[in-house]
Symmetry: C2
Subunit: 156 residues, 2 copies
DNA sequence: ATAGCTGCAAAAACTTTGCGCCCTC
DNA sequence: GAGGGCGCAAAGTTTTTGCAGCTAT
């Protein structure tokens, strides 16, 4: 009955209003990285009594509580996704704008080491790759590597 | 007589107005990552006939020409730095907001490999670490590692 | 009961743009 | 001289906020 993010709100003692429940549900079900406008659109579909201002206030609150993470993929507006265990990164297809998520333990380790070497403790970090799909091979068979699907997670 | 970035503008056939020359000089001399407001302040000191609109137009133009790179370190406003050879990254001190630059060839290689494994050719990328200065050791001597200075470059 | 949310609309913060004059090539 | 750049101010975007009423705890 309560969405995953809704439960996290309750755990942290947030007051659960109707609006908040709806926004939490939209966020829990999102497989992508919606901006505020898009969140508002989806939330308004479920309950038209929601205003954009509330969406702004809510994502801000949830970000402060560590439930959400704000992303910047270029294009001016902030985009959001639920905080998950384990770091993951984003590859943005510069042709289509599609975002592919992936994990990489080697990378996670490397940057912890870099921060330590500079005399810091890592608080958080971000990595975004902007890339272009490599044209398929003409002579060899197409690459066998299973391509990560948008919204899913590619483990390495 | 002409600043480094001024020369790059000329190479690319840009018309060199007085304002552009001043902005190019400010950018050439910047050791940090100023936002538009700060660039405007510095430029206006050298020549008060400059408007913010021109600064916006100029950084946009120079970014399109590949002379400048736009950064987002959180805090809402875009920040700029001259494009340089070789990738480098940023560590932002979450307490002070200071930005430390560093290079890391191992990291550069790793992400090229990641992009390739996902079936893409890397176009560009970004990495930002948010970290907190590690408290000095109480028993041992302070860490001998030479800490990178703000604005300079720490090679690894 | 009451601290905290909400909608609405105004405003703030950042960036772009239309227009007529001016300058560089 | 001609195409492009400039200042100014107006407008566009995205996000925040004041206020009066409403609600979850």
């Amino acid at each position: 009955m309560e969405s995953r993010i809704g439960r996290m709100c309750i755990e942290r003692g947030l007051k659960m209003t109707g609006q908040r429940r709806v926004i939490a549900r939209v966020l829990s079900e999102a497989q992508d990285h919606p901006d505020v406008e898009e969140l508002y659109r989806r939330a308004a579909t479920l309950d038209s009594r929601i205003s954009v201002a509330t969406v702004y206030r809510t994502v801000r609150l949830l970000e402060e509580k560590g439930i959400l993470e704000r992303r910047d993929f270029g294009g001016g507006r902030a985009r959001y996704e639920a905080t998950e265990e384990g770091d993951h990164y984003h590859l943005i297809d510069v042709e289509t704008g599609k975002v592919i998520e992936f994990e990489d333990e080697e990378h996670a380790e490397l940057i912890r080491r870099i921060a330590r070497d500079l005399g810091f403790d890592l608080v958080s970090h971000r990595l975004e790759l902007f890339a272009r799909k490599r044209p398929a091979e003409t002579k060899e068979a197409p690459p066998a590597t299973p391509t990560a699907r948008t919204g899913s997670r590619s483990k390495r």
